[in-house]
């Protein structure tokens, strides 16, 4: 009581302030603010930085900054034997070590003219499609996490991913750093019962997809945050070398599994999902639809896989020297076209070892996608590009 009365008394004794009225304009109006987003940020999927010029909340300029994880993978590859680089390719895109292995093995096989036994090719297809399943599932989980759905959807996706990683572990000895492929085949045959386990996991995967798609497809928040955000035209996407689900979301029918027909992909029936709008929502849906097709490929592969040797016995392991020449091999990785360009001078080490990283080149258009959108949208757009910094920075 006392205190209140005192306060009201003092307020009454105060004189009205003498200051000029504030104007509606300030010197900050129309000025761009430069913000450095990253490199330590949960939504940048690693150490990635963007220098963003903002007008209020709207992005007017965006320059990605790379190199925080750069260890000059290509130089290391040039100073190592051909096989010595195989475990190192696991560390490029550490989500998809199996596809990295395959792309590298495929390029060396082109370079040296090596044939691969049938069972090994089937195993490669199975492992690549399993990799695609777990990569796309965890990408969707991460993307929902970026949109503010903390934890739950990501854990749903990781539950499925764990099952596939367990398969990888029992096959290769390691969950993520598999180092499984060899030139002319694979390292070891499947342990007893592996195929049945894999078959069971794949058979129940559509149940997870049904549930997970329900979380996304008609989710009001997802639609509001992703539709018409980060639109990309097909012409620009082709010109900028965008590959993978990000390209197909623009409606361009280009899937290297179909175009090159490497491995035994021509033996499998599967469709290539295509988007219509090229926006973030389509990119998201591409992943969900591709997982369904991967399940189909896997089921066909489990039925067709023959018995037989898993590695070409003619390939030398020690002192492996491909003939002089060069080769570029590529596969459809989960993130896009993953290629290896190798030049051999006849020695045990490659003269030139180059990785064509899909997520690095898909980032070319990050600025174009983000211009005119808000800061919060940048994280969603970046998430839909699907980057892994181990591959971007190499």
């Amino acid at each position: 009581m006392n205190r209140e009365s005192k306060m009201s008394a003092t307020i009454q004794t105060l004189e009205p302030p003498e200051r000029p009225p504030t104007t509606m304009t300030s010197r900050l109006d129309g000025e761009l603010m430069e913000v450095s987003m990253g490199p330590q940020h949960p939504s940048t999927h690693g150490v990635f930085r963007m220098n963003v010029a903002l007008e209020g909340e709207i992005v007017r300029k965006l320059k990605p900054v790379f190199g925080y994880l750069h260890r000059n993978h290509e130089k290391i590859g040039e100073n190592t034997s051909y096989l010595g680089s195989m475990p190192y390719t696991d560390r490029l895109d550490y989500f998809c070590s199996m596809t990295n292995n395959w792309a590298y093995a495929l390029s060396v096989e082109k370079l040296a003219g090596i044939e691969v036994p049938e069972r090994a090719e089937y195993l490669r297809v199975i492992l690549a499609e399993l990799t695609r399943l777990q990569n796309h599932a965890s990408l969707l989980g991460f993307l929902l996490s970026d949109m503010g759905a903390w934890g739950t959807p990501l854990m749903y996706a990781f539950r499925e991913r764990e099952k596939i990683l367990d398969l990888f572990e029992s096959l290769s000895g390691s969950r993520m750093m598999c180092d499984y492929m060899r030139f002319g085949g694979c390292r070891c045959d499947t342990p007893p019962g592996w195929m049945e386990r894999a078959n069971k996991i794949v058979d129940v995967f559509p149940r997870f997809l049904d549930e997970f798609e329900k979380l996304i497809v008609e989710n009001e928040i997802v639609i509001a945050r992703t539709q018409e955000v980060g639109k990309l035209s097909a012409e620009l996407a082709i010109n900028a070398g965008i590959t993978g689900p990000m390209l197909r979301a623009c409606g361009v029918n280009y899937d290297i599994r179909k175009v090159d027909g490497y491995g035994f992909y021509p033996r499998f029936k599967f469709r290539v999902p295509l988007g219509e709008h090229g926006d973030t929502y389509d990119r998201l849906m591409m992943r969900a639809l591709e997982m369904r097709e991967s399940v189909g490929i896997l089921q066909q592969a489990f039925e067709q896989i023959p018995a037989g040797p898993i590695v070409n016995p003619k390939v030398k392991i020690r002192a492996f020297r491909p003939p002089v020449g060069e080769a570029y091999g590529r596969i459809e990785g989960p993130k896009g076209e993953l290629g290896f360009y190798l030049i051999s001078d006849g020695g045990t080490n490659p003269y030139r070892y180059r990785v064509r990283p899909p997520s690095f080149i898909n980032l070319t258009l990050l600025e174009d996608l983000c211009l005119g959108h808000t800061v919060a949208d940048v994280m969603v757009i970046l998430g839909s590009v699907d980057i892994v910094m181990g591959e971007v920075d190499r």
Binding site: F66, G67, H70, N72, E74, K75, K110, L111, A112, G113, E118, M195, E196, N199, K200, D203, L236, I238, N239, A240, G241, V252, Y254, D260, G261, Y262, G263, F264, Y265, P266, R267, F302, E303, Q304, I305, P306, A307, G308, P322, P323, V324, G325, E326, A327, Y328, G329, R330, G339, Y341, I343, S344, R354, R356, F360, I361, L363, T364, L365, D393, R394
Partner: protein, 252 residues
């Protein structure tokens, strides 16, 4: 759920896929070369053979007409190489190529086949290699390459980023790691290394700097390096107190 059998007989031979049809080009490189030279006046294109089993020969394009030839390759309706998949650099040091050719010679009045070895010296140069594919026609790759005159610091090449945007980051990477300057590139900066870095780490004669932190108990060649690195510096007070093998954070 009944588990499916693990081993089933191999599918019939007729079902067997053809070998991966990667080199599905509409026309041979000779035809592409001839048409490109006809379309771009003054352009000089050589075919670089690839002796390996990959069978991927490439086109060497002269730097003066590279952009025009690239536009032709992109826009020609039969080729439509609209997708530049991969752009990368290669560092070639000075090398000599030995060629052995069998020549018929008359020795002592008798015609004999004699092997003659010729040596060709190729001065070192830097190379930019582009792998082009067509998303419209789904064929490729056509490989084109450009060569700098030498490996000097200011080696230059024309940029193909105005033709294919996908070369933007990749040419920056070539500049960063190989030191090729691309004329006409919109934003040529280092991309993987930091801006203050000197030298280009992917060059074959690159020597890594001597500024890394040494291990706490150095031995062998590291000890040798560390001895030089931690050489006494009397000009700095107290600096000579730091010796090899002693912990830096020792108690006073």
């Amino acid at each position: 759920m009944a588990a499916k059998p693990q081993i089933v007989p191999s599918p019939p031979k007729a079902f067997r896929a053809d070998p991966p049809a990667f080199l599905v080009t509409m026309e041979s490189l000779q035809e592409i070369k001839a048409r490109a030279e006809a379309a771009v006046s003054g352009a000089k294109i050589d075919i670089v053979p690839n002796p390996g089993p990959a069978n991927q020969p490439s086109l060497l394009i002269d730097n003066g007409h590279a952009a025009a030839v690239a536009r032709f390759l992109r826009d020609d309706p039969a080729l439509r190489l609209d997708f530049c998949s991969n752009a990368t650099g290669v560092d070639w040091l000075d090398r000599t190529i030995k060629k052995t050719v069998k020549v018929k010679k008359v020795v002592d009045g008798v015609e004999k086949e004699v092997e003659e070895t010729t040596e060709e010296k190729i001065p070192g140069h830097l190379e930019a290699v582009y792998h082009l594919c067509s998303m419209t026609h789904k064929h490729g790759p056509v490989i084109i390459r450009m060569r700098t005159a030498d490996r000097a610091e200011g080696a230059r090449l024309p940029s193909l980023t105005p033709v294919w945007r996908s070369a933007e980051f990749q040419e920056r990477e070539i500049f960063d790691l190989y030191g090729v300057r691309f004329d006409g590139h919109p934003d040529l900066r280092r991309i993987l290394m930091w801006d203050e870095f000197v030298d280009h780490p992917m060059r074959k004669d690159y020597r890594d700097p001597d500024d890394y932190e040494y291990e706490p108990t150095p031995h062998d060649e590291v000890l040798e390096k560390a001895t030089k690195h931690y050489a006494a510096r009397p000009q700095l007070d107290g600096a000579e107190a730091l010796r090899i093998g002693e912990s830096v954070n020792r108690d006073p």
